[in-house]
């Protein structure tokens, strides 16, 4: 019954979007993080989505979405000369994270809209299934 697969598909969509919301929250929380070296600086994280074509072994349903991994942005981090900062390095520089708050906010809205879409789909399918169960009564 195809309608049952919709719960898996919409569920995979919801979990992918909630992971995206999670990374966005982490990015926004660290928007003002500073560190004393380039390597330790927080970089914007974003999930990589991929469609599941046929992954019967993994138990994914066709047409679901999966998160392939989380990548860190390679955009340059901003460095600032601020010798009085407690985290300043020997040359007096601190490094700011490369999080762009505006694009993270837009990302957050897009994720929450997509999440709502998936919830809506699951709800509609549930109603259709319930009505199918009552068939002939």
């Amino acid at each position: 019954m195809s309608l049952f697969n919709i719960f898996d598909i919409a569920g995979s969509g919801m979990s992918a979007q909630s992971l995206r919301l999670n990374t966005t929250a982490s990015n926004l929380a660290n928007a003002d993080s500073v560190s004393s070296s380039v390597d330790q600086t927080y970089r914007t994280r974003s999930p990589v989505f991929a469609a599941v074509l046929d992954d019967a072994q993994q138990g994914y349903k066709q047409g679901s979405v999966q998160v392939k991994g989380i990548v860190e942005s390679q955009a340059p981090v901003r460095q600032e000369y601020n010798p009085s900062h407690p985290l300043a390095n020997e040359e007096g520089y601190i490094f700011h994270s490369n999080v762009d708050s505006m694009s993270e906010m837009a990302n957050m809205m897009s994720a929450s809209r997509s999440y709502q879409n998936n919830v809506e789909i699951a709800n509609t399918s549930k109603q259709l299934l319930l009505r199918t169960l009552q068939l002939g009564q």
């Binding site: 195809s2 919709i6 919409a10 969509g13 349903k61 002939g136």
Partner: protein
């Protein structure tokens, strides 16, 4: 004359099946709204109906060995599944248009309910024929 369920239910059973497959396909389009390079797909209802009415086998992928992976659903096994031509494709190669998909999903679910009602009416007719009321 014996009661034949196939002729009693008519095309509505097939219609219901195709509608539910279409709902699955549209749901996977919507789940993959943000997947790069995902191409939106849809079922051509008319040709799927024709195929069902003519009793033709789906003509999809055949497996010739036990170790071949069976497709878990009819999505890829159905020649009536086609790619949707996007109105405005995004830069990442995704062709899902959320508004179009939502509208289609809504329409499809209403049509599913219509098919359900038709089927229900057929069952009621059968029941009253059996009871002889």
């Amino acid at each position: 004359m014996s009661i034949n369920f196939d002729s009693a239910l008519g095309i509505h059973a097939d219609a219901l099946r195709i509608r539910s497959q279409r709902a699955e396909l549209l749901a996977s389009n919507l789940a993959n709204t943000d997947t790069p390079n995902y191409k939106a797909r849809d079922i051509d209802f008319q040709s799927a109906m024709k195929m069902a009415a003519s009793g033709q086998s789906t003509g999809g992928m055949q497996t010739s060995h036990v170790n071949h992976i069976q497709p878990s659903s009819a999505q890829f096994n159905n020649p009536a599944v086609q790619f949707r031509i996007g109105m405005q494709d995004s830069l990442d190669g995704n062709t899902v248009d959320e508004q179009v998909e939502q509208a289609q999903f809504m329409q499809n679910s209403v049509q599913y309910q219509a098919s359900l009602d038709f089927l229900g009416a057929r069952f009621k007719g059968l029941l009253s024929a059996i009871r002889g009321e």
